[in-house]
Symmetry: C2
């Protein structure tokens, strides 16, 4: 990347970090590598990220947050809860499948980073389950879902659909039956939820 006169924001550093990851894989994404890609001094990157770990956690969080934000938009609509639930699960599956399909190497790189950044991933999973809890709670409030404890049910829904969002299953997502399997599973779960 050529030096630029733009101010060195956190976002610019993270964009450059992702580009370094895309080109060179996980081993090369250090503060020094990213500073070089941006044509700036190490010190100016260190002012934003004091360690390699902090940089790598931040870029992993940014990658995960893109999914979280797309899903938050569905959570926040006023559609009936069953529609919202189906869209939420379908969007999560589609987002993961797209990420894994478009650039499998970057997907695998983030998979490795995620293993290093356990706290970031745990927080991401809590955010997603909280969104699901909101949908389930709304369904209970409207009398269309039965769930004695919406948080427990949301966690069960998230775990039940793991095959369609856990990166460990990425190889399964392009198989011919995957979409049909996903829909059969969601139908079964939605039936189980109905009041």
């Amino acid at each position: 990347m050529a030096p630029s006169s733009e101010p060195l924001t956190t976002e610019r550093i993270l964009v450059a970090t992702e580009e370094v990851l895309r080109r060179h894989g996980p081993a090369k994404a250090t503060v020094v590598d990213v500073a070089r890609a941006l044509g700036v001094s190490h010190g100016s990157v260190y002012r934003h990220f004091r360690t390699k770990t902090a940089l790598r956690e931040a870029v992993t969080k940014r990658w995960l947050d893109r999914t979280t934000e797309a899903l938050a938009a569905i959570t926040a609509t006023d559609a009936d809860p069953e529609t919202r639930l189906r869209e939420w699960l379908a969007t999560l599956f589609a987002a993961k499948r797209r990420k894994a399909g478009i650039d499998p190497e970057l997907f695998a790189t983030y998979g490795l980073l995620a293993q290093e950044s356990g706290d970031v991933v745990d927080a991401h999973l809590v955010e997603l389950t909280d969104q699901l809890t909101g949908i389930v709670r709304e369904g209970v409030a409207r009398g269309v879902f039965a769930a004695p404890d919406p948080a427990v049910t949301a966690s069960a829904l998230f775990q039940a659909t793991g095959r369609f969002h856990d990166p460990g299953y990425a190889k399964e997502w392009e198989k011919p039956g995957a979409q049909g399997d996903f829909e059969a599973l969601v139908d079964l779960l939605v039936r189980g939820l109905r009041a």
Copy 2:
């Protein structure tokens, strides 16, 4: 293992192979290693297993078959289908958790062997899903389950519970919430199945 005067059956070879795997890990389970453990000539083992691959597939199948057989007994009872389904899923989870917990190294060794023996594992998964299909079909026949296509529903049930039988999740099984998560999921799935 000391030489023995017992006849050299396939079962004896497989018992010895598992013992070699337990002691030495996956790298050492060759025909020569197993013959040495049994105190017999290579040739006498080769008469049962003509390649290292055949031997390793057979010992993997034997390991998987122990679970299949325990589950087949539940499939075959005359209990009401919901009880059978719950017991089947609980027994599968318990069997996997026990295998992973009692001897994690042997469990990991079989995990590696399973990756080599894709056909054996696929056949195992088909057997298990067929057992589930039988339970779902019986529930439909008795009017207690609703499932337009029992095989599709059985596959959805199996995939939905993957977190509690897929070896990739073994680390999750000993966490404090795992049993409660499992039960919440099964409750949701059973509700979804009811006619």
